[in-house]
């Protein structure tokens, strides 16, 4: 009998080069995220540096000047323009505060209701519907704010002698608040549901009502997750653009009166769209410096959220 063919060596990996090529390609796809992150930072920083190198523009002025009007800059007379981000920052914080005033009570109520009170059927219906609310394009919310909420508010405020301008911070802030309800509700509900059932059962066994259990046991136990939810909702409110671009507008005005016209960082950037800004002009570079301020603000809040959830996480 002929010698048997040697057995196939199963220890040898087949098709090694292909394995390596695919793994490399997949790695490159993943590494793209790092590249994009650095590209964003590089673009914002390098263009902002250009902005700060114009005469009369400086980092100091950017952070302390209370007026913002880079469009008035002319090469002959650069001092006509003003380059302080504070009015835009004030508008952004005002919109965010109004939004959180709306979204935290409502979002928390929804979250506690869904997690502690509602039956599984109600949850199965409400959660997907909230997701649908979160999926509505924000330009539609902007339309709603300008054409429904603002006229309604104007009518409500008229008896108090307040004449609400068509573009105002209040209605934009309220609608941004509605916009972030689904985010806060969903994240807060996740945090509440992560609290182990023994804690609830213990409280209920001691005679606590559902509300007492929720408020005194479940909510404190989920505090870090809830804080994370609020801050993420806040960073979304800060970055929201279309609602404020449509309902708040781009008229820069340093005020803390929400019934006045003012502008936010995002609304001002979006307000420069009309194709009138010239590549390489002061306004062109100024939108990058405003974008940098926006990114720093949101990253700061995201980091705080991350840090809180790390530091105060209760481990069960």
């Amino acid at each position: 009998m002929a010698e048997a063919k040697p057995e196939r060596d199963f220890t040898k990996r087949v098709n090694r080069p292909l394995e390596l090529v695919v793994e490399t390609l997949l790695f490159l796809a993943a590494a793209l995220s790092v590249v994009v992150t650095f590209a964003i930072l590089w673009v914002l920083l390098s263009q902002s540096v250009q902005f700060f190198s114009f005469p009369d523009v400086s980092v100091m002025r950017f952070l302390t000047d209370t007026r913002w009007s880079p469009e008035f800059y002319t090469a002959d007379n650069p001092s006509l323009g003003n380059y302080g981000i504070l009015p835009l920052l004030a508008g952004t914080l005002m919109v965010t505060l109004i939004a959180l005033t709306v979204a935290i009570p409502l979002g928390m109520a929804i979250a506690i209701y869904l997690s502690e009170f509602a039956g599984p059927t109600a949850r199965e219906v409400v959660k997907p519907t909230l997701e649908l609310l979160a999926a509505v394009p924000t330009v539609i919310f902007g339309f709603f704010a300008l054409n429904v909420v603002t006229p309604f508010l104007a009518q409500m405020l008229l008896p108090f002698g307040i004449e609400l301008p068509q573009l105002n911070t209040l209605s934009g802030g309220l609608v941004v608040g509605v916009l972030i309800i689904p985010y806060i509700a969903s994240l807060a509900e996740d945090a509440l549901r992560a609290v182990p059932n023994q804690l609830r059962e213990g409280s209920l066994a001691l005679g606590g009502t559902r509300l007492e259990t929720a408020v005194r046991v479940v909510v404190p136990a989920a505090a870090s997750g809830l804080a994370g939810a609020f801050i993420l909702g806040m960073s979304r409110a800060i970055g929201e653009t279309m609602v404020v671009a449509i309902a708040v507008g781009a008229k820069v005005n340093l005020t803390f009166d929400p019934t006045q016209s003012s502008s936010t960082i995002t609304a001002w950037i979006a307000g420069q769209y009309k194709g009138e800004i010239e590549f390489g002009s002061v306004v062109y570079y100024s939108i990058y410096s405003a974008g940098l301020a926006l990114l720093v603000l949101t990253l700061l809040f995201n980091l705080i959220a991350f840090w809180i959830s790390r530091k105060y996480r209760e481990a069960y």
């Binding site: 993943a30 964003i40 506690i112 869904l114 902007g142 300008l146 054409n147 429904v148 979006a270 974008g291």
Partner: protein, 461 residues
């Protein structure tokens, strides 16, 4: 036992705590508040739809979706050509392009992070980057695209924001959503599946491509649909890029369509271009004119002698080919000698630029027009030939399909934004566009939610 129980008076076992009634009332009150809060959240969605329907509902019909909107429609005669065809087509093309870019990269990154990534500093960095990108405001992506994509992803010498630039920006925007969704879908596949495949001698790649990814597909699809619906409704980054919020033609030209140039060359007076019986157009892209009847195409003369020229930037090494039917003169300043130079090209002849040059392609003096017999076609070179007048009724212009990504475009949310900011008579239009937008995004998300629900029910691991 029984005796002991019996000896306890029933009333002693339970003492009602003080203010139990009030506590229970508070409990019920909160239940009510929870329901009210939920109702407010969902009520907004209903109010939104109701408001859009009452304002723009009567405009919605098939012709609204397929009519190309002209700004003149609202002047004088009232409702005429009202529709969103150009915006809808722009949005669909944009979404397809975004999908082609973002899905392969996003799924690959998600699969890498879940299946391949070793636990080390590099992986950690990638994860932090993905999480960070998900939290970056969308308008910042617009700034990124404005600096990196808009100036480079367009034909040289032109100023439009191309569909490709918009798609690249939105693709980066939705990348984190797809990565996270693919990752979670891959994570949901039980370890036993991988162990079994590896134990049978499958390689890592075989395990992943034959077993993990197929099981993860429904989860990936859910994430992709949600991400694409986000791209469909996203407005802010496109505004920052400078995408047109309204334009009167489709992103892809129809046969027979005559359209204005995306950019008016500075040295041309637009008022001279339109005459009652002839239409002037620029040939900004490589495009073909096919004559329906007997057609004369007249091309401009030398700008120096009063004719109209067209400035074309020709980077070093790029070539320019004259059309097959006619020769052209290329006028430019020689970058070495600084002398005015004219290069004469015979029909079909090619000129290769040795330095970066700005050239004016103009007709030869001995041939300023081309006569096309019915059915005959004329191919205009890329980015050239200025005002070419021809009989509108007898000329057929077709767009070369490989160029549509480089055309300018508008999208549904931008069109809605445009009409919203104009207000007044435009509000019903804005509302109708909003309805179309809302319907499309809610439909996509509804499908995704349903898919995920089905998926959860079917899991039997």
């Amino acid at each position: 036992m029984t005796a002991a129980t019996a000896s306890l008076p029933a009333t002693d076992g339970f003492v009602a705590p003080p203010n139990l009634k009030a506590r229970k009332a508070a409990d019920n009150l909160f239940t009510f508040w929870g329901i009210v809060a939920t109702a407010i959240g969902l009520g907004v969605l209903v109010a939104l739809i109701w408001d859009l329907l009452s304002r723009g509902g009567q405009l919605i019909n098939w012709s609204f979706l397929t009519t190309i909107y002209k700004a003149s429609a609202l002047e004088g005669t009232g409702i005429g050509q009202i529709g969103v065809a150009q915006a809808l087509m722009g949005s669909l093309l944009l979404m397809i392009t975004v999908a082609l870019i973002a899905i392969p990269v996003g799924v690959a990154a998600g699969v890498y992070l879940e299946e391949y990534a070793p636990k080390n500093a590099i992986t950690n960095t990638i994860e932090i980057a993905v999480n960070n990108l998900a939290g970056v405001p969308s308008i910042v992506y617009g700034l990124l695209g404005l600096a990196l994509f808009v100036p480079y992803l367009r034909p040289p010498g032109f100023e439009q924001v191309t569909l490709l630039a918009g798609a690249m920006t939105l693709a980066l925007l939705i990348l984190p959503i797809i990565i996270v969704a693919s990752r979670e879908a891959a994570r949901a596949v039980p370890q036993a599946v991988r162990d079994a495949a590896l134990a049978l001698g499958a390689t890592k790649l075989q395990t992943v491509s034959h077993h993990v990814v197929p099981y993860a597909v429904p989860g990936i699809v859910t994430g992709v649909i949600i991400a694409l619906s986000r791209a469909f409704g996203e407005t802010a980054p496109l505004i920052v890029l400078g995408v047109k919020t309204s334009q009167e033609f489709l992103p892809v030209a129809l046969p027979g369509e005559v359209r204005p140039s995306p950019v008016q060359p500075a040295n041309l007076d637009p008022t001279t271009l339109t005459t009652p019986d002839a239409i002037a157009g620029y040939f900004n892209y490589k495009q073909t004119i096919t004559a329906v009847g007997q057609t004369t195409l007249s091309l401009p003369g030398d700008p120096a002698t009063g004719g109209q020229g067209f400035l074309l930037e020709l980077p070093a090494g790029e070539s320019f080919t004259a059309p097959a039917q006619m020769g052209l003169n290329l006028s430019f300043v020689d970058p070495v000698t600084m002398a005015d130079t004219v290069v004469r090209l015979d029909p079909g002849q090619t000129f290769v630029s040795s330095f970066a040059q700005k050239i004016y392609p103009v007709a030869n003096f001995d041939q300023t027009s081309v006569v096309l017999a019915p059915g005959q076609s004329f191919e205009a070179p890329v980015g050239t030939i200025a005002t070419t007048t021809f009989d509108q009724a007898s000329a057929l212009r077709t767009w070369v399909p490989d160029q549509w990504m480089l055309n300018d475009f508008t999208a549904m949310p931008l069109q809605m934004f445009n009409w919203t900011s104009q207000g007044g008579d435009f509000l019903p239009l804005a509302a109708a566009a909003g309805l179309v937008l809302l319907l499309a995004t809610l439909l996509m998300n509804g499908v995704a939610i349903w898919l995920r629900y089905r998926l959860r029910q079917r899991i039997k691991w």
